[in-house]
Symmetry: C2
Subunit: 140 residues, 2 copies
């Protein structure tokens, strides 16, 4: 399912600015910040307000088409992704990310719940390292 149709199906209006933001995101590799999109939009002479970009990102995040990351640096970034529960491995050099499935995490979560007595209803796992390409290329 493509981004623009997903917006429509969720009952939101399929507006020009939203299409434009979706396009900006599709043209990206790796993660990006809201500021990146603002800059990119300005470069392409798109008439999209800053607030609109933030709003579009919120919307896409809500639909699960984009996910918010908290980089170790403290920055907030986003990555485009498929709308189902999963996690990311993020390259700390180039920012490319790969989705990962359960991989036994569910079991870990259950064990923690059992041992601590917490009823766990959400979790976040982020992995950072070098992607295969960056490992192969330069090692400064």
């Amino acid at each position: 399912m493509d981004t623009t149709t997903a917006i429509g199906q969720a009952g939101y209006r399929l507006t020009g600015p939203r299409r434009a933001v979706a396009e900006l995101i599709e043209d990206r590799e790796g993660h990006f910040t809201a500021a990146d999109l603002v800059a990119e939009a300005r470069e392409r002479r798109l008439a999209i307000g800053r607030a609109t970009i933030f709003r579009a990102l919120d919307l896409l995040a809500e639909l699960g088409l984009v996910e918010r990351l908290d980089l170790p640096s403290g920055e907030h970034a986003y990555v485009a992704c498929e709308p189902h529960h999963h996690h990311h491995v993020i390259c700390s050099r180039c920012g490319r990310s790969a989705e990962i499935a359960d991989e036994g995490l569910r079991a870990v979560v259950e064990r923690v719940g059992a041992e601590t007595g917490y009823s766990i209803d959400a979790h976040r796992l982020e992995l950072f390292g070098l992607c295969p390409r960056c490992r192969r290329d330069g090692r400064p």
Copy 2:
């Protein structure tokens, strides 16, 4: 090892403001934001500058005596904790947290590395839910 001695042993000066911040943190339950500490310090009429609180938090985080969290809301918060690698389960109502050990996570990380080809050198796992006390108490 208590906080103030840890600061000394790491080669940093054991100053009044740092002691004060350490004390503010020890008196807290659950997670707290930098702004919380600033407000608390003001209430107690402590003459500690805002910048100093941020600096002290950075220092304590570097020593591993405090850990930075990214709440689902996007806020940055901290929790006091022991200085070794671990993760937290955080109560989404009261903010109390419990530390959790490996619990099989290491194996998960290794499997992901093997499958994606990334060389993973850092990870973050945060679990959110209700702590036993909040489960027992009100269910609004």
